[in-house]
């Protein structure tokens, strides 16, 4: 780390400590939890975070963001195929939900975000299109049929297609027909498929070549994971070129989501009273869910925590370029505010309690933190 970089990093760590203090103060003033001891558990946890994370030049941050988030979601490499291979090997079903949220984009920036107005189901649709299309590719007409909005001009649909192609790093191939059957006119068909090197990785497990037809077909295993991995690999490789990854909105979206994931991972687990109705609710699974303190979701507490953390995540994942892209206007507070309400399909509200579902990424980040605390307490 150069001198300037080090200064920047220290500044972020100091800001983190300061803001956490502010959150603790606000938390002490109010209590919205109805579980005895919840507020105290949260205050204790925040104090531990404040004391341990900035230690040793933010070693714990570097370890958890670099090892857990970067390695699994945004591997540091310039080779698309290598990034793709590393991501696809570390994917799990639960984690796909997180990325789905990411693709869906922030509602506030929806009109300007990565996949225009076709987010939401875009990946599911692409999976269907590639599964049904011939030779593992989709033709532009098929895309228009699936994604076009009749209320918008074709120009926008074309732009939207190009956005998706860029977003997933797909490759275009052209087929020129001198005389088409209907009008005897020259026609250019554009096919979209995966880059050659990615196809090599997919071959066998996700895609196979039919010996008779000589065409590529998808296997049972081919699903949205493939697109999610390609999307992440594309971001990883082009992280220095914001234009190629959807601009500041993508950066803000990624950093918001991962800082929220980071915080969720570190929240203390609460033991609820055995008479608590949540335990009787059939959708509550005590083996893989835990109640997290409600006061953590208070606007006053969470916004102070998120702000420096979003910058830390941006700095660790994309360096100074990403840090600069983090929105620092008044809009930011609104965007941060809505960060509270994302990932709701992962952290479910059950009878008024926010429940964390123990998916891999939460467990692994939480365990790094737990290890260090245990190690330190043994040394003490």
């Amino acid at each position: 780390m150069s001198g300037i970089d080090n200064l920047e990093w220290e500044k972020l760590l100091t800001e983190f400590s300061k803001n956490i203090d502010r959150s603790i103060k606000k938390l002490e003033e109010r209590d919205i939890d109805n579980i005895p001891g919840a507020k105290q558990a949260l205050i204790e946890r925040l104090k531990v975070m404040r004391d341990y994370f900035p230690q040793n030049n933010g070693d714990l941050f570097i370890k958890s963001i670099n090892e857990k988030i970067q390695n699994a979601f945004f591997p540091k490499t310039k080779d698309l195929a290598e990034a793709f291979e590393r991501i696809i090997k570390s994917r799990s079903h639960d984690q796909d939900f997180i990325i789905n949220e990411l693709i869906n984009g922030f509602i506030s920036s929806r009109s300007k975000t990565i996949a225009l107005n076709v987010q939401g189901t875009v990946i599911d649709r692409l999976v269907e299109a590639f599964s049904k299309g011939p030779d593992f590719q989709i033709v532009d007409h098929q895309f228009y049929a699936m994604f076009s909005d009749p209320n918008k001009a074709r120009k926008y649909v074309k732009e939207s297609l190009q956005d998706l192609v860029d977003l997933f790093g797909l490759e275009a191939k052209e087929l020129i027909v001198e005389k088409d059957k209907r009008k005897s006119e020259r026609k250019v068909y554009t096919f979209y498929t995966f880059p050659e090197k990615i196809l090599e990785i997919l071959e066998g497990e996700y895609v196979y070549t039919d010996e008779v037809l000589g065409e590529k077909m998808v296997s049972e295993k081919f699903d949205k994971t493939v697109f999610i991995s390609l999307f992440l690999a594309n971001i990883s490789v082009h992280r220095d070129d914001l234009k190629k990854i959807g601009g500041v909105y993508t950066v803000n979206g990624i950093c918001n989501i991962f800082s929220l994931i980071f915080l969720i991972s570190l929240m203390p687990k609460l033991d609820v009273d055995e008479t608590n109705p949540i335990l009787k609710d059939p959708s509550y699974d005590s083996n893989r869910m835990s109640v997290i303190p409600k006061s953590w979701m208070m606007k006053e507490v969470l916004l102070d925590l998120l702000e420096p953390l979003i910058k830390i995540v941006a700095y660790r994942l994309g360096g100074g370029e990403w840090l600069k892209a983090i929105d620092t206007t008044e809009v930011r507070r609104k965007i941060h505010n809505q960060t509270r309400f994302i990932l709701k399909d992962i952290n479910r509200w059950i009878l008024g309690e926010l429940c964390r579902v123990e998916i891999d990424i939460f467990v692994s980040i939480g365990s790094i933190f737990a290890e260090v605390i245990v190690d330190t307490s043994i040394e003490d």
Binding site: R110, S111, R125, K132, I335, I350, G352
Partner: protein
């Protein structure tokens, strides 16, 4: 436009299906009668296909095109199968497999053809009715009032909430307007509205204010600020929803108080208490404060119950989406139940070309009074629209896959029972 009768639609539904069975039966017989040596020379199939196509049969163009497509695919798949396994399998085994595949397809088609009957005789024992009823209980139950429907939904939501939610979010949501001049029309939930509902749920759980209940001064009801719900939306992108908040509230079981608060409707409070989504807390001043404890599904199920109760007032998009979901699940269930996963003809049934010939008519049949009770006049016939929604018909959605599996087990039970009865 003339309102089509059951018999008209059922006849159309059968048109394409009834052409498939003879093709399969004929081809099966041809394969059966072939010697093994002849069969292994795959060129013979091209010749048979050519001969078949030369036969002069008077049909409308669309039908003959479809038959040609179907026959072509059947022969293509047979050739591929023989070519692929000619080294690994004995010719006799290949032949057996082919015949087994034909039998499975014919039996699936028989169920599809006999799914119901032109005069709806013995309605309670028809496949369409039984499968529909099973789905109805899980996804869109009927009931005398809102409360009864909500209770039924809440009971099944433990296992099927994702399917229930899926059915409320049409993929053509961009065609809908939340603020339709027709107050009674109920649109589907757009992804943006889904986020708004999430916001409302979170705010009720986190930061409720309390307000004297207008209907009962002894009760304090939870309220949240409308501004808080929309605060996060920059650039006025939720302006339309904000303007239509009263209509949205109506569908969620909420109401606007003093133009700034969102509060549960008086009738809805009882339902919420019965489902533990609100608990009563007696205060020192003798008043009862109602404390919200919502789950993710609390308001979504309310929307769904409202849709189910007022199914006569649904938007065109929602009618198409709901009936398509039901029809798609029933169609896929019959295939799943009858065809083995490695059946070489499976892709022909799941291809867009086949689906668009069967599902739209099944959608219309399902709109009749004994079924969904939706306005079948609103089912779109446009090819473009069918492509748009069928291209995305739920096959890759995990919860729909699970539901198809569940329903196919039920179908197996019905078939077993029918056989025992015979």
């Amino acid at each position: 436009m003339v309102r089509e009768k059951w018999t008209d639609i059922f006849a159309r539904y059968l048109t394409y299906l009834s052409h498939l069975v003879p093709i399969l039966k004929e081809t099966k017989r041809t394969v059966q009668n072939m010697s093994l040596e002849v069969m292994m020379d795959i060129k013979i199939f091209d010749k048979i296909k050519m001969d078949e196509e030369k036969r002069l049969v008077k049909r409308v163009r669309a039908l003959s095109e479809f038959s040609a497509y179907y026959r072509g695919k059947v022969f293509e798949n047979i050739k591929n199968f023989i070519y692929k396994y000619s080294e690994d399998l004995e010719p006799i085994d290949i032949k057996d497999y082919l015949i087994e595949f034909f039998d499975e397809c014919i039996s699936a088609l028989q169920i599809l053809i006999n799914i119901t009957n032109p005069d709806q005789k013995k309605l309670n024992s028809t496949y369409l009715y039984l499968l529909y009823k099973y789905l109805e209980d899980l996804l869109l139950p009927i009931g005398k009032n809102f409360e009864e429907i909500y209770m039924k939904l809440n009971k099944t939501s433990v296992n099927w909430y994702e399917c229930q939610r899926y059915m409320m979010i049409p993929h053509t949501y961009y065609r809908e307007t939340v603020d339709n001049p027709d107050f009674f029309e109920i649109p589907g939930i757009s992804p943006k509205l889904y986020q708004i509902i999430n916001n409302i749920t979170s705010l009720y759980n986190l930061d409720p204010n309390y307000y004297p209940c207008p209907e009962d001064s002894n009760i304090e009801i939870p309220v949240i600020l409308i501004n808080d719900v929309f605060e996060a939306f920059i650039d006025n992108i939720a302006h339309e929803e904000q303007e239509a908040i009263e209509k949205i509230c109506e569908r969620l079981g909420l109401r606007v108080l003093d133009e700034i608060f969102l509060a549960p409707k008086y009738d809805f409070i009882d339902v919420l208490i019965k489902n533990d989504f609100i608990r009563e807390n007696k205060q020192s001043d003798g008043k009862i404060r109602l404390i919200p404890q919502f789950s993710n599904e609390t308001l979504i199920l309310s929307y769904l119950a409202f849709v189910s109760l007022r199914r006569g007032f649904l938007s065109k998009e929602l009618i198409n989406w709901i009936s398509m979901t039901f029809a798609f699940i029933i169609f896929s269930t019959i295939l799943k139940c009858q065809l083995s996963d490695h059946n070489i003809f499976y892709p022909i049934f799941t291809s867009l070309k086949t689906q668009e010939k069967v599902i739209p008519y099944m959608m219309k049949l399902l709109c009749f009074n004994n079924y969904l009770k939706l306005d079948r006049m609103k089912i779109r016939d446009s090819v473009q629209y069918r492509k748009e929604i069928f291209n995305f018909a739920g096959s890759s959605i995990d919860c729909i896959k699970e539901l198809i599996l569940d329903l196919s087990e039920y179908l197996n039970k019905i078939r077993k029972k029918n056989k025992e009865g015979v």
